[in-house]
Structure formats: C-alpha cells, structure tokens
C-alpha cells in the first residue's frame, strides 16, 4: 500500500511538477526577473527618468532554473503524497477515481493550497512590501489547513450544519486578516506585481489539475498491475 502510494505520487508529482516548472520558466520567471531589477535598485520606479517596461532580462540560467525544475518536481510530489491518500480514502468509500475526475481533485487542491491563502496573501513578487515572514507562514498554514478541512466537509458530508461550518472555516482566516506590512515601501511597479500574481495562479491551476489527473491515472494503473496476477493463481 505505502509503496503503491509513494510510486504513484513520485510519477504524478514528477510529471506535473516538470510541466508546471516549464510553464513557470516561460510565464512567471520573466516577470520575477523584471521585478528583481527593481528590488535590487537597477531600475527605479518613479525615478528621475522614465523606465522602459521592456528591459533586457537575460536568458536561461542553467543552475538557477535547473534548481527551480528540481524543486518544482519535489513540491508537486509532496502535494501528491497528500492528495493520493485522500483519493484512496474516497475510493474506499465507494467513489470512482479516474483521470477525468482526478482533474477536479487537482483543481480543489489548487483552491485549498494556492487560492485560499492567496485570496488575502497574493503570490508576491520579490521587492514588494510584506509583513514578517514567520507571521505570514503561520497565517498561510492555518488558512490552508482550515480550507482543507472545509473542502473535506463539503465533499464528504451531507448536512447543512457541516456545510455552514465549512463556509465559516473558509471565511474566518480572511475576516481575521492576513499579516500586512506597516507601510507600503515596495519598489516594484504594481503592473508587475499584478501580472506575477495572475501568472502564478494560472500556472498553479494547470499544474494542480494535471497533478490530480496524473495521480488518479497512476493510482489506477498501479492497482491493475497489483491485482491482475491474483485471478491467474486461483
């Protein structure tokens, strides 16, 4: 059981993480590099001179971008290690599982891990003002945990009371509020920060949807190979 979980998670995480990393390098990385020019002071927003919105950003950095690919694959494997046991649990309770509804599982994973926290703590580009990192991580973790419980309540229970509880869990972190900076001292133009947040969400939605589909697919196919030899022995 555990080896089947880990193998499926590795395959699904590596595949989805690789695709997410390539999308990240094409769509997110240029925005990030652009922001870093402002973070480092090479470009100055509202300085004496007007600044071109299309600076030279440099090409592929093998070391840096290679590490991004490796860590993206690792991260998605971590996601899959949590997603797959939940899928398996639902399957044991009689829900069918295939690549198609795996897409929905993945999209819900995106909502729980990325969007729930990002609703108040938007994906931040380097060089924007932000509160203390420890406080933000704590809030991030609490929000993801409560969104995860809420998603489980919505998916696996059939009573209005638990659904209302789920709504409370979804709303509470945002009503309490995410840690915010005291002053807006960020150096990066808002156009870049907004594009970064939108791109990060878009890439994550694709990555997560694929992760769900791949995880369900590899889980099913590994189940077939495990159970196939049994009838022939009998």
């Amino acid at each position: 059981m555990i080896s089947r979980l880990i193998t499926s998670a590795l395959f699904a995480g590596a595949a989805a993480g690789l695709i997410a990393a390539l999308l990240q390098l094409v769509f997110v990385q240029p925005v990030l590099l652009h922001a870093e020019l402002y973070e480092s002071g090479q470009l100055i927003h509202f300085g004496a001179d007007s600044v071109s919105a299309h600076p030279e950003l440099g090409g592929l950095d093998l070391m840096r971008d290679g590490l991004s690919v490796v860590f993206s694959m690792l991260l998605y494997t971590g996601y899959a290690l949590i997603l797959l046991p939940l899928m398996s649990f639902a399957e044991q309770r009689g829900q069918s599982l295939d690549g198609r509804n795996g897409l929905i599982w993945g999209a819900i994973g995106f909502l729980v891990i990325q969007f729930a926290a990002g609703f108040s703590l938007a994906p931040e580009v380097p060089g924007v003002a932000a509160a203390d990192v420890g406080a933000r991580q704590l809030w991030w973790f609490g929000t993801v945990a409560s969104a995860g419980i809420a998603a489980a309540l919505i998916a696996f229970t059939r009573s209005w009371a638990t659904w209302v509880g789920a709504a409370v869990l979804l709303l509470a972190p945002h009503l309490i509020g995410a840690p915010e900076p005291d002053t807006f001292a960020g150096t990066v133009p808002p156009e870049i920060a907004a594009l970064f947040a939108a791109r990060a969400f878009g890439v994550a939605l694709v990555g997560w949807s694929l992760l769900g589909a791949f995880a369900a697919y590899f889980w099913r196919t590994s189940g077939v190979t495990v159970s196939a030899p049994q009838p022939s022995k009998a």
Binding site: M1, I2, L5, I6, A9, A21, Q24, V28, Q29, L32, R64, D65, L67, S68, F71, S72, L74, L75, T77, G78, Y79, A80, L81, I82, L83, L84, P85, S88, F89, Q92, Q114, A117, G118, L121, A122, P123, E124, V125, P126, A130, V133, R136, Q137, W140, F141, F196, A200, F201, V203, A204
Partner: protein, 60 residues
Amino acid sequence: MNQNHTLAEPAITSQTNGVAALLLSVVFGFGVIFAVGLAQADALHDAAHDVRHANGFPCH
C-alpha cells in the same frame, strides 16, 4: 459463522495497514512541502527561491 470470523480478520488487518500507509504518506508529503516551501534555512531558501515565489509561499 466461524469461517466468516476467520475470513474477516485478515481484511481488518489490511485495513489498519491501509490507514497507517495513508497517514505515513501524508506525513511524508508535509515533510517535502515544508522543506521546499517553508523551511528558512539559507541554502534551501536560495535554491527554492523562485519556486516559492511562483507557488505563493510566503518567502522573505
């Protein structure tokens, strides 16, 4: 009846193994996500920097 009992036992054992495997996988998953997304060690932070930003983790 007796036969039913002897048949039921392995099923229960495999089910508890199953739950243990599910929980173990979740623990591994949290470990990996913590290392990639949240741990503040400098080497990890620098190597995973772009991935953390792109995936919405609070970074620095």
